[in-house]
Symmetry: C2
Subunit: 329 residues, 2 copies
């Protein structure tokens, strides 16, 4: 058996291209004392990966040229020198874009609770991002209006469903009629606005006649400015992503900063790693709702490690529909 | 005796001019049951007044054309039909740009604690803005670095002095060498940067070698963007004013929004009226520090109601030095 892995070959300026990656073979790694050897079955693709490809200052360091691309993975233990894990265990790991890897840091997950891939989505980092961002920063009260962008995506879909579970109104923003129909009809949001249909401001007024208390923002850009203008007194803005900027060398410049003063908004950045000590709480809560059938999800799957670059590019262009995954086996 | 008052004559577009105001005489008002007749001795001039002259949406409604300009005033009760105030009492009121007025809402203040004009500055709205904004939103811990703009002004000067009292480092930003010398040498800030001297980013790096935990922003604009780029992880930004925008029809567009995400900043709008229930706490704390000689202040006084428009224009241009007041008697 040989390992296969995808390395960062060059730093993109603007849009990512497949030429920014290189697929290579490598020997199968051997687990050291305390480690497991894992066969990765699923690789999660996420917008933050665009940031790691760049050497601009961000919340974690960039991937070096020639390094394996980072990413969360779910797989099966093949061989264990780890004190509590054994061969056959299903685990969550951060092994990145490769078929096999060794690590000390693997978290056992239970497939009877949910399919393995769910631990990368609705019960994984995206679900926990939604959980902590909405609960601790957004703090919606019953009857308040929560607006979330990328509403059909891995984070946004959970944000809106949690808002509903917690008694708030959920209004999504997504790209295209098909995604909007899914968000409204299948996920149960109160409304979903197609930002590609034009006149977002008018659509937002109609969907949020009493204004917006919580804005969970995954995209930044013009949409952010439009929602800022619709926020109510003492509203909260969860700054979770600026995907609209990821492929532009010049960041979007925000026009409505003064709305923060005028409406005494609280605007706060959200990265899920800051909540590490409470992952268990989030997992239990999310798995509970999931078990009750109250958290629906959708996956967008590309097959094979060699297609991971294509999958990431599609994700960054908003062409995915639901949680973007690579099936490795 | 006749009253004199200054009315809003036209809405400025861009810079305020004296032609936007009109001085008129009026009969002396008579106090109704429950009211006092007050002779105003001091009128406070504040940056927020620019906002009230505009009909753009803001946190309170605009002054109508032909109405008396709003403003906080300190004066003496001439005649009382109020249950607890009597002639001769010194009071704080919101009577606006006029020599006399009647009101039910007057707060008695004690001149033995501090000169009357201080209740419009270091012990008044500006002082309380600094107190609540820094304590409750900025939340500086000992050893952290607090940066404040308009540092020689009524709010900024108190922000920096409170930061020092509470054990933090205080770095001011002000316009011109004279103001900076005052902030550093007389107010006791650790450093003060002259933004007019050019290369603010480099000066900020030097004054804040370990970055910035708390930014108390009175100005917005390019300075805001420069400080945002220097904020540390989990930093706090108090959005208290955007004076740099007040005279421009097109708001400044903020480039470094992404810093909120990258460093998980908490950015929050601050208006002192939201803290009404705790004014007494703030006044007691500020008066305590004041009595110990730990809160220094400076006043910039224009004489006579007819010169109030000129005083406001000077303030908006940053030509004042310390708390801007109009002496009415």
């Amino acid at each position: 058996m040989r390992n296969k892995r995808v390395l960062l070959a060059s730093r993109p300026s603007g849009w990512v291209s497949e030429a920014d990656f290189r697929l290579e073979e490598a020997p199968l790694p051997q687990p050291a004392q305390g480690e497991v050897l894992v066969r990765n079955l699923w690789l999660s693709l996420d917008p933050y990966m665009r940031g790691r490809m760049s050497d601009a200052k961000s919340y974690v360091k960039a991937v070096e040229l020639g390094e394996v691309m980072v990413g969360q993975t779910a797989g099966e233990v093949l061989e264990s020198r780890h004190p509590t894990l054994k061969a056959g265990d299903k685990v969550l790991t951060q092994l990145g874009w490769q078929l096999y890897g060794t690590t000390k840091e693997a978290m056992r997950v239970e497939e009877r609770r949910a399919p393995l891939s769910c631990y990368l989505g609705v019960l994984g980092m995206p679900g926990m991002t939604a959980y902590f961002g909405l609960k601790e920063i957004g703090q919606p009260k019953a009857g308040e209006t929560v607006v979330v962008t990328a509403a059909s995506g891995a984070v946004g879909s959970v944000v809106g469903q949690l808002a509903k579970i917690w008694g708030a109104r959920a209004v999504g923003i997504a790209g295209g009629g098909e995604k909007c129909a899914y968000v409204k009809d299948e996920l149960g949001f109160d409304a979903c606005i197609d930002y590609k249909a034009g006149n977002l401001a008018a659509a937002l007024r109609e969907a949020c006649p009493k204004g917006v208390e919580v804005y969970f923002d995954n995209v930044g850009g013009e949409i952010l400015d439009t929602v800022l203008a619709r926020m109510n007194l003492f509203g909260r803005v969860v700054v979770c992503g600026t995907i609209s900027d990821y492929n532009s060398s010049d960041p979007y410049r925000v026009r409505n900063w003064r709305a923060i003063l005028v409406n005494r908004l609280r605007v706060q950045g959200m990265i899920v790693f800051d909540w590490k000590e409470r992952y268990r709480e989030a997992l239990d809560a999310l798995a509970g709702y999931f078990g009750q059938g109250r958290l629906k999800y959708r996956e967008s799957v590309v097959e094979g490690l060699e297609n991971a670059p294509r999958g990431l590019i599609a994700l960054l262009k908003g062409e995915n529909f639901g949680k973007q995954l690579v099936k490795l086996s």
